[in-house]
Amino acid sequence: MSATFYVAGAVAIASTAMVISRRDAVHALLYLVVSFLSLATVFLTLGAPFIAALEVILYAGAIVVLFVFVVTMLNPGSQETQWRRPRAWIGPSILTLVLAGELVVVMARGEAPQTGGAVTTPREAGLALFGPYLLGVEAASMLLLAGLVGAFHLGRKT
């Protein structure tokens, strides 16, 4: 079980690194799918099959498809070659390395309990959603509606 977690985690990190460093948006998107799928595996190892399924369907499915649409619509080529110089990576990398270091320190500081290993079924998740978190669900639905309207409005050819 834990071996699966580590392998999947390693794949996720590697593929994410590829996403941000690819020149071609389509290649990056493919790596993104890999990243999402490996994360879905991680979720499975954490006992969250429902979330793993949603990860695959919504992230690797819907969102990436949206990206693909846009990339194909715009077909931007690779303008970024002339923008991208190695130097541009130095600052952000240092900054995020520091941040990551700090985060790791924070994580490692506390006691290191094991996850329970118990599987949280979709049923449990659903009951929680429509029980104590009902208001949150409603808010999320409003947000999605707003996103819909906003995207529609922005996307119109004016």
Binding site: P92, L95, T96, V98, L99, E102, L103, V105, V106
Partner: protein, 570 residues
């Protein structure tokens, strides 16, 4: 009769108010009538009061203010000293006013002139009648203001304005010392009532108070070192000079010291200082008078010198003699100014004595009156008023030591020297200018009246003391002076102490430099500081608003990093 005392300063004040508030509707003769008449009426009232005078009394009009124990009044006090003063001031003032009616005829500022002259007389009368030092100070400053206005009467000429301001500011320096003296007295004895303060004065450090009052007296009376304003004060019309020099203003210092005699008596050091200042001014004024070309400036230096003589007497404790000399001086100095004025009027306002000459024939009245004045000034024995008062001062100087006496004697010699030099230069020799004699009864009558006073004034009994005249060395010396004067008719020039230049360098220029330096108000930097900080902060803050999304994101990350670091390692 005595209740009318308040009318003595009140009538000239009324004259001032009438002239300044309603004067626009008056005709010129009416203006002259109001101006002269108010002073004349005041002189009559003063005489009436004098006739009924037995013993000192006060007349309190109302309480000026009351703060705790300190309660000065608007009130008058008449005693022998102030009686002499008001009689001289009102009568000499009246004669000068009458003279002015003719002298100023044709001047555009006729009404203004009489209004200020009336105010001047009112202020001076307030000064000498006040029963407390604060009210006295009111008159004191009023005199200063009026002298400013009258010296700068012909305001169109900036030089006159400069002379006027110089007079006011220099005397104000002295006045400030005077005011501090008043603060000192309030703090020490708690009252400014002259009688009470004098009786209580024993309990305080009289020297400080006396020295501070002396500061005021030195300023007003143009004594060294504050004498610089007086020669320039000749910028005003001649009647003004007569009024300032003879009866009012410059004698205020003499009056003040005589009035606070008790205080000075308690402070021998300060009293000696008075004598030293007087002696120095006596000699300096006499020498200065020898070097002048302007007839009015000769008289101005003469005034300085004669007031110095009075100060000398005051410093020697002989205040009755000083007041006696004040009286005779008022007569003959007013006479000299008026006579000089009539000369210049006939010579188209020519003031240079070396461009005059041989005038005795063409201007006989001016000549005669000027001669009488000069004789009185130099103290001709028996026939002149000046003889009596000078002899009494010399007599008291003799009592105090031969040193003081010999200084006074030199002063006497200088006096007859410079004044008869002027007589010889102006009225004898050959004529140098065309003369257009102005004959006006209003010009002549006051001169004649004053000439009589300058001759017989010495016989007037005055209530401050009795003086026994005796012919002494002084008379001989003064006769000798006349003889020497005949041989000194050429222009003289000798280096003196340049007080004007000294003050210019020591005070005026540093003040102007300071004013120029701070004129733009460097304290504004206080507001520039925060303003600059705000502007800089704004510039810095707006520089971060690059509009670049990545820059903003980096900012957020940076903030997160720092916050986390703080949380981690604090």
């Amino acid at each position: 009769m005595q209740d009318l005392l308040w009318l003595v300063p009140g009538l000239p004040l009324l004259g001032f108010l009438v002239l300044s508030l309603a004067g626009g509707r008056l005709s010129r003769p009416a203006m002259a009538a109001v101006g002269t008449g108010s002073v004349g009426a005041s002189a009559m009232v003063a005489t009436l009061v004098a006739l009924g005078f037995h013993e000192p009394f006060r007349q309190v009009l109302w309480e000026w203010m009351r703060v705790g124990e300190f309660a000065p009044t608007i009130g008058f006090r008449l005693d022998a000293l102030s009686l002499v003063m008001i009689l001289v001031i009102t009568w000499v003032g009246f004669l000068i006013h009458a003279y002015s009616c003719a002298f100023m005829a044709g001047d555009a500022g006729y009404r203004r002139f009489f209004a200020i002259m009336n105010l001047f007389v009112a202020a001076m009368l307030t000064l000498v009648l006040a029963d407390n030092l604060l009210f006295l100070y009111l008159g004191w400053e009023g005199v200063g203001l009026c002298s400013y206005l009258l010296i700068g009467f012909w305001y169109q000429d900036p030089a006159n304005g400069r002379a006027a301001r110089k007079a006011f500011i220099v005397t104000r320096v002295g006045d400030t010392a005077f005011a501090i003296g008043l603060f000192f007295l309030i703090a020490q004895v708690g009252t400014l009532d002259i009688e009470e303060a004098m009786t209580r004065a024993g309990s305080i450090s009289a020297a400080t108070a006396a020295a501070l009052l002396l500061g005021g007296a030195v300023g007003k009376s143009a004594q060294i070192p504050l004498q610089v304003w007086l020669p320039d004060a000749m910028a005003g019309p001649t009647p003004v000079s007569a009024l300032i020099h003879a009866a009012t203003m410059v004698t205020a210092g003499v009056y003040l010291i005589a009035r606070t005699q008790a205080l000075f008596a308690l402070a021998p050091v300060v009293q000696t200082m008075v004598a030293v200042i007087g002696a120095a001014t006596l000699l300096l004024g006499g020498i200065g008078a020898l070097a002048q070309r302007d007839i009015k400036r000769v008289l101005a230096y003469s005034t300085m010198s004669q007031i110095g003589l009075m100060f000398l007497a005051l410093g020697l404790g002989a205040w009755p003699a000083a007041i006696f000399h004040f009286m005779t001086h008022a007569f003959f100095k007013a006479l000299l100014f008026l006579a000089a004025g009539s000369v210049t009027l006939s010579l188209h306002h020519e003031h240079d004595i070396f461009r005059m000459g041989g005038l005795w024939k063409s201007l006989p009245i001016s000549f005669a009156t000027f001669l009488i004045g000069a004789a009185s000034l130099s103290g001709m024995p028996f026939v002149t008023a000046g003889f009596f008062s000078k002899e009494s001062i010399l007599g008291s100087a003799w009592e105090r030591g031969v040193g003081w006496w010999s200084v006074a004697l030199v002063g006497v010699l200088l006096t007859s020297l410079y004044i008869f030099r002027v007589v010889f230069i102006v009225f004898f020799g050959e004529a140098k200018t065309s003369v257009a004699p102005r004959r006006d009864v209003l010009l002549t009558l006051p001169m004649v009246a004053l000439a009589i006073l300058a001759l017989v004034g010495g016989w007037i009994p005055i209530p401050v003391g009795v003086f026994e005249p005796h012919v002494g060395v002084a008379s001989v010396v003064s006769m000798a002076g006349i003889v020497i004067a005949w041989s000194l008719r050429a222009p003289l020039a000798f280096p003196g102490v340049d007080f004007d230049g000294l003050y210019e360098r020591a005070f005026v220029r540093p003040f102007l430099r300071l004013a120029n330096a701070v004129g733009r108000d460097p304290a504004d930097a206080v507001s520039f500081g925060p303003a600059w900080a705000a502007a800089t902060a704004h510039r810095l803050a707006s520089a971060t608003q690059t509009g670049s999304l990545r820059w903003y994101a980096a900012g957020i990350v940076f903030g997160g990093v720092v916050l986390l670091a703080v949380v981690l390692w604090w």
